[in-house]
Subunit: 463 residues, 2 copies
């Protein structure tokens, strides 16, 4: 518990009306999009970088944990205050500071909703590509903390590829300005890209400088259905091997497509073993030619039906459907576990087959969807993780799935991050020497371990 | 001086014939592409990661400086052994380990020449875009150490955008495997991108995993001449503001183009105030359409002549000419200083005008060329930096140019790095808190300060 005197100091720092200890309020900040919970002692809502610095100084002096929070849409427990303390919400820092059309750069406060930035860019004929499924709710600060991906990462890359610079506050209240607002910069160690993906454990990001690119003038999406997940996986590998780089190449298995169809009535063929969504963008004349080539490969790999959208409304509808896959699985199975492995793209058919085996072995129903073009598969275990009779089997299945990812030359997480969910197996991928470096970097930034403690790094001795 | 017993140990570690203390050999490893020199005590040529680890352990135990070296083409003094010790040449580790066509990934040893990787990719219909002017000599390890850019960074990004993972050896001989060989990965702090750009001060990179992309099927280059540098600069800003992203958008001023014309006889119009080289790539039908739009803007901004190349040989000839600018200036003025500032692209006309003013103020002739589309300008001071009567004026001019870059919202270095050349002004850009973090990161990786000591970080007290 935090002392009342300290709460008063926080109220002074951010304004009494922007600091709450009301249990009803605290309950709202006890969770993220996982099922883990942890009650904070206090939630503060600073409005400026200086207020963030003041709050951090207070917390650091008192050795009180601080959990930075965007919109709480994270999928690895990153925003859950498992050790109590302060939730530092960036919700009031939600302004786009500037869209510089002449330089193709955007500056925004960390609490700005990513979709707001994307729309503001589009209004200027520009494009901010990273689009996690939660784009209409999540914040750019959370995206930076987790290096968020999205539907268009295959061609356009992830948050880190668009992050030029940061304003970030260290636990002692020092305000760091990292990076550049130019297209290049190689001056000193890259703190921007180190803080990006550090899940709020190194510094609190308050402002971001993003690179924008010209908006592609045209796009078209093909939807192809396959009799089996494996056949669809083979088509993905064939497209990549044919050196086509679609803007989007998404995979949805039968269970996932039935769920989303039930939820949204998109008109997907619910008997298909799996669907692929393939988007090509660019100038209209190239889109047509490249889509023809892609469709030929889709057919050659056994597509049983094909449909198309080549207008903005139709494409947006398919994106919405794809984005609705996770929520619709969540609706059908609220206490499921959603995994996030990434494998080399040629190994997708193997991965899909072995994920099926793992589900059967542990008698846990699975649903798989994801950014197949990246090799990033979201494996969902459709059971109640709070059911103590089932939970050990789910844990065993997860362990098998994570080991499978590493076996196939992949990684434990493509875009959800480590947070609480994967810290116990971080060492499998990073190794002992890497873990030592990670711990020392943490100590360099946050010597008192007040920033999002208990995330990413396992407690010493538990590795 | 290193003790003879230690030299014997190095000979045991890498083989006697791969370790030299012959003064004639040492003289060859005393310099890079700058004019700074510093004699090593010994040069070792390990053939494997294990041999690198063995050599580092010996040096670390004896507290002897180790300077990793690729091809010595660096432009900031990064490979110069200014504190003596061991030069650790990666020249024997020069093999492409694998080009994985199915996953669009290349693995190579750090001493592999970048152009060899690029050609091997092309042979598979794939593309490794980062192409510094020294592409046919420099090594991928050096590119990673400096996060090298190149002619095509505007559209395709720099080395860091293609670097998926590393094998790197810490000073104590621990072998780190960082990153992934998948398209995504967010597991732990990003050591891959931290080591990239650290100029050999944190670890010795021995192997790299690179992302490849499909090779663009077609390209065309327009060469436009302008009466003044400023007019050309305005055309650059106009192209970016029109939301066209050429594959290449290069600027060459009159002095530079006269030099390269003298050297290569390309047929450039030597009376032009400046030239722009604008390359568009993609599918043939889009290339034509986008080039038309770009040419319209070039004309509207006062182009006085225009010529084109749309075949591979013609394009390659223009790239060669552009790559020859720096060597030809070097031939004309061997002891010049080559700067590397980057400014927001809309500020290029201002930058060009004020660089002219600075040259006149200090009575030092200048030549400017560079990756204008990125805002990355190579400002050359054409005088003899060893002439003690001129040197103070050159130093004053450089200081003015670096301050100008920061004034315009830019950065001290776009792609050459800090090395020795800019360490004294690193703090101007990074700030005191950032410098503290940088120093602590250095200490985390290299507690005994044996790895490339004296580079990037200024000696304490000299900031």
């Amino acid at each position: 518990m935090i002392e009342r005197a300290l709460i008063s100091e926080f109220k002074k720092a951010v304004g009494a009306e922007h600091c709450t200890t009301d249990p009803a309020d605290l309950a709202l900040y006890a969770y993220d999009a996982t099922t883990v919970e942890g009650n904070p002692d206090c939630v503060v809502f600073p409005a400026t970088t200086d207020e963030v610095a003041a709050a951090l100084r207070l917390a650091n002096d008192a050795r009180v944990p601080v959990v930075p929070r965007g919109a709480g849409t994270g999928l690895s427990g990153g925003a859950v205050p498992v050790k109590g303390g302060i939730v530092l919400s960036l919700a009031r820092m939600n302004k786009i500071i500037e869209i510089d059309r002449a330089n193709l750069v955007c500056r925004a406060e960390a609490g700005t909703v990513t979709g707001v930035i994307a729309s503001a860019a589009v209004a200027q004929g520009l494009y901010y590509p990273p689009d996690p499924s939660s784009i209409n709710f999540c914040t750019i600060g959370g995206n930076v903390a987790h290096n968020a991906g999205g539907l268009h990462a295959l061609k356009y890359g992830v948050t880190k590829n668009y992050l030029l610079g940061l304003t970030a506050v260290l636990p002692g209240g020092e305000v760091l300005k990292t990076g550049v607002r130019t297209m290049k910069g190689v001056v000193g160690y890259d703190l921007t890209k180190l803080i990006c993906g550090s899940e709020g454990t190194l510094a609190v990001v308050t402002e971001v400088t993003l690179k924008l690119i010209p908006h592609p003038p045209h796009r078209a999406v093909a939807v192809a259905s396959y009799p089996t997940a494996k056949a669809a996986g083979e088509a993905v590998s064939a497209i990549i091997a044919a050196r086509i780089l679609p803007a989007m190449l998404e995979f949805i298995d039968n269970t996932s497509l039935r769920c989303v169809e039930d939820y949204l009535k998109v008109g997907f063929p619910i008997d298909a073993g799996a669907l692929l969504l393939v988007e090509i963008d660019g100038r209209p004349e190239s889109v047509r030619a490249e889509l023809d080539t892609a469709v030929e490969i889709l057919k050659k790999n056994g597509a049983t039906s094909l449909s198309f959208a080549d207008d903005p409304v139709g494409c947006e509808r398919l994106w919405e459907a794809r984005r609705a896959v996770a929520p619709s699985l969540g609706k059908a199975s609220p206490r499921r576990i959603s995994e996030d492995i990434t494998v080399p793209r040629a190994r997708i058919p193997d991965a899909l087959e072995r994920i099926g085996d793992i589900g059967r072995k542990h008698a846990i129903p699975t649903a798989v969807f994801g950014h197949a073009g990246d090799g990033n598969l979201h494996v969902n275990l459709l059971a109640d993780q709070r059911d103590l009779a089932i939970r050990p089997r789910m844990q065993a299945a997860i362990e098998d799935i994570l080991r499978l990812a590493l076996d196939l030359g992949g990684t434990l997480s493509g875009e959800h991050g480590v947070g609480l969910a994967k810290k116990s197996c971080l060492g499998w991928e990073i190794g002992a020497d890497g873990m030592r470096i990670l711990r020392e970097i943490k100590k360099t930034f946050d010597p008192n371990n007040i920033l999002n403690p208990g995330k990413i790094l396992p407690e010493i001795g538990s590795e």
